[in-house]
Amino acid sequence: MSTNSATLWLRPFIARPIALAGLGVLLATVLAAAFAPWLAPYDPYAIDPLIRLTPPNVTHWFGTDQFGRDTLSRTIQSARMALLIGSGVVVFALATGVPAGVLSALFPRLGHLLMRMVDVLMAFPTLLLALGLIVILGPSVANVILAIGLGYMTTTTRIVYGLTLRLRAETYVEASRSMGAGTVWLISRHILPNLVSPLLVQASFVFAFAQLGAASLDFLGLGAPPEIPSWGNMLAESRTFITRAPWLLIFPGMMIVATAFSLNLVGDALRDRLDPRFRQVFGEKG
Amino acid sequence: MLSVRDLTVSVGPATAPVDIVAGVSFGLAKGEILGLVGESGCGKSMTSLAVMGLLPQPGPRVRVGEVLLEGCDVTQLQPWQRVEAGHGRMAMIFQEPMTSLNPVRRIGDQIAEAVRVHEGISGAAALSRACELLELVRMPDPRMQLSAYPHQLSGGQRQRVMIAIALACRPQVLVADEPTTALDVTIQVQILGLLRELCNRLDMAILFITHDMGVVAQLADRVAVMYAGRIVETAAVDELFGKPRHHYTRGLMDCMPSRNSGARRLPTISGQPPVPGTVAAGCVFALRCAAVRDVCRVATPPRMEVSRGHEVLCAFPLGGGELP
């Protein structure tokens, strides 16, 4: 199986061209982040007052901003921040939300307490919660991750809680319990494997919304420090030029939408790959 | 009264259709109960839905064949045309009464609504007709129960309500798709008794679908045994149970525990029913048949009338039969 496992993972994508496109966009973003210094045609920080607000042209494909910095280079550089915040938020949300949700469902007393806390947190809109936290903690990349992650931890906990409650009542879990299985066994053999595919979807969703959240915080000046290029910072800086230099908004804006959208497509395709029923469709046996 | 000819229901693309019901023919006379019996997935529900013109859209469709209700082909009509043409007089009841009833409306209103649709009469009159219908289906305390909600009724009572709703259009044909499968035996007897009584009293024809040979023996006048989308044997009920001619029918009866209590082992039919679309040439039962011969695997068996009103789809029926 190892010889062709790569092609097996690719099959659900090949079967669905739009997911393949999404995968392409994501790969491009990751590559851009990894090789930003080599890919960027100019230094993303270099200021050149002579060419302020040039529209896209042959030398500056995406045009330049109000300081004459190359928009293409800055867009590429920003992929780093996007991926950092996105994965940070996903890791935080899953690492806290999954245990909280699973344990709440398995231990009703703990669940009662935890779910009330989650309810309280969920009463605040995610962005408002993040804003409040940033105001308290002060703006920094780590705090952005924490602030946004907390908002998605609550939704993750709720989802996992609901799913686990349902799984706990499944006959095969009962069968396992009747054979003397303990909590660890139930979680590792029955609950987590059945949570993987909904969590993949949740993760891609969280990643996508983390982008939007981070962009919003940047836009309000509460996100990544303004000197670090990020798509949100780019939007924030250029908003006053929206009529004069729309390209300054279009390119970073497009990247936010494209990565968010691609992530959802890829999440869907991966979920199908993990569903044993689809293995047959994609030609794998056992 | 109802005559189904060569009914074929298919799914899949028009270029490569998969027949889930293949060439089913039967007739149904006034006051007669025809039992359609077969195992899960053999196409009983699809047949009944096709007869009612209720096949889910999109998906299965009637590819070939006709369903004649008093000489008029209902497969060619839209449901509303059938009502207008006076051919709406078919009704159906399903296995799970709870899913067919609106949980937040009183059952009286739900029956009255069916009455209004079919008879165009006003609220009060419809409600009193609803009460009559509940009486007809022998609901205890019909006047009180009009204001009950579905969840306040037992499973058997809910099925009675479903029958009452079905009777609201004064059907000539009632199609019942496993109406007692979800009920206890003690309740099942009552519902079966009720259907028999209604059939006699209202001179209705009933197409009764079930997978339980016992239920068929109790209720039906004639039986059609279905296997893999085909009717493999049709006969009057006494004849079928007394002298089954198809090997599948015989196998089904033999493996019922209640027919051979005391035996150490139950006779079985080896294997499982085929998946639609995988049926190769020859007899559909060839793979599981104990009496299979080489021709069975290549040639589709003939439909033979082994005695009056007793047809069997088999080249070598049990107890002999002249080959055509």
């Binding site: 499944e170 006959t171 095969y172 009962e174 069968a175 396992s176 319990r177 009747s178 054979m179 003397g180 053999r189 029955h190 059945n194 044993p276 029923r277 293995r279 047959q280 046996k285 056992g286 | 195992e39 899960s40 205890p140 037992s154 499973g155 058997g156 206890d184 035996v185 003690t186 309740i187 099942q188 007897v189 079966l192 008794g193 028999r196 997978h211 339980d212 016992g214 239920v215 023996a217 109790q218 009920v237 006494d238 149970f241 196998g251 089904l252 009866m253 493996c255 019922m256 525990p257 209640s258 209590s261 035996a263 082992r265 139950l266 006779p267 079985t268 039919i269 080896s270 499982q272 029913p273």
Partner: protein, 321 residues
């Protein structure tokens, strides 16, 4: 009856709290049921839907904690047992579930499901031993050992139920609680699975509690039968005796209502039977009294207890028979 009592269940009470129309009720799902199972014996449990058959089975395998009562396995208390001896007993008393589609984890390979009890208890010493045991067990239930690597969706209902049975016999138990193991299967497949269970009973000398609502099936596989009504056992006797001469009024109705596959013996309309009871409004005396043709005044005030009736250890709970 053969051999000693291996499972002894006494006066089990199980209740659940339920909410209806905004009010909290307690539903007495099992109401003082007692039964005993001898080694190598199959005891059938039959009764209407909701009478507590499944709950009783789940209580015996430890999925439900009874409010009171005792369950003894080979003389040892199962309810108050310490965790290590309990673990051992869990391996000895196993359950087969009704719905073959729901009882297998769709994301686990068949082999892993079959070996689950062994894996939980550390029964297998080596991987090779484990795969050999899986293959042998799959073969024993009439499946190809190659199924070990397949997933449930690739199997038919009958095959899945065979997997459910395979899971219950590895490592070999003493008792199987089978909760309607053939009810979800087609008649022709049902016969195959019943034969398999009878073979296993003989080969492995299993004792079984065979729960079903189908007296025909019970008659085939079990030597004795307990008839349950609203959480109580109302009649308990040899299966043949019950089928041929049911005594308790409820058993009589149940036996009479079996749809016999014989058109010359029609019973439709011949049986008039009241509505099934609601567990929320349990009668004070005999639970069957509101439907019972023999009910007398006493039946409405006094609960009949199981008492011996005739030979063969037949017991019955009725004032008027």
């Amino acid at each position: 009856m053969s051999g000693d009592v291996i499972l002894d269940v006494r006066d089990i009470m199980v209740s659940f709290s339920a909410r209806r129309a905004g009010r909290k009720y307690r539903v007495q799902a099992v109401d003082g049921a007692s039964l005993s199972l001898a080694e190598g014996e199959v005891l059938g449990i039959v009764g209407e839907s909701g009478c507590g058959k499944t709950t009783l089975g789940r209580t015996i395998v430890g999925l439900v904690r009874p409010d009171s009562g005792t369950i003894r396995f080979n003389g040892a208390d199962m309810i108050g047992a310490g965790s290590s001896s309990l673990r051992e007993m869990r391996l000895k008393v196993r359950m087969v579930f009704q719905d073959p589609n729901a009882s297998l984890n769709p994301r686990r390979a068949i082999g892993d499901s079959v070996a689950e009890a062994g894996d939980i208890s550390g029964f297998f010493k080596t991987r090779a031993e484990r795969s050999a045991a899986i293959a042998a067990t799959l073969t024993a239930v009439g499946l190809n050992p190659a199924f070990a690597d397949r997933y449930p969706y690739e199997l038919s209902g009958g095959q899945r139920q065979r997997v459910g049975i395979a899971r219950a016999i590895l490592p070999t138990p003493s008792i199987i609680i089978a909760d309607e193991p053939v009810s979800a299967l087609d008649v022709s497949v049902q016969a195959q699975v019943l034969n398999l269970m009878m073979d296993l009973r003989d080969q492995l000398r299993l004792s079984m509690l065979f729960i079903s609502h189908d007296l025909g099936v019970i008659g085939q596989i079990s030597s004795r039968v307990a008839v349950m009504y609203m959480g109580r056992i109302v009649e308990h006797a040899r299966t043949r005796t019950v089928l041929d001469q049911p005594l308790h009024p409820y058993t009589r109705a149940l036996v009479a209502a079996i749809p016999k596959p014989d058109p010359s013996k029609r019973i439709l309309g011949a049986i008039e039977m009241g509505e099934p009871p609601s567990l929320f409004t349990r009668p004070r005396g005999c639970a069957y009294a509101p439907r019972c043709p023999l009910a007398s005044d006493r039946c409405f005030v006094e609960v009949p207890n199981l008492r011996s009736a005739g030979t063969d250890g037949r017991t019955i709970a009725c004032h008027n028979v």
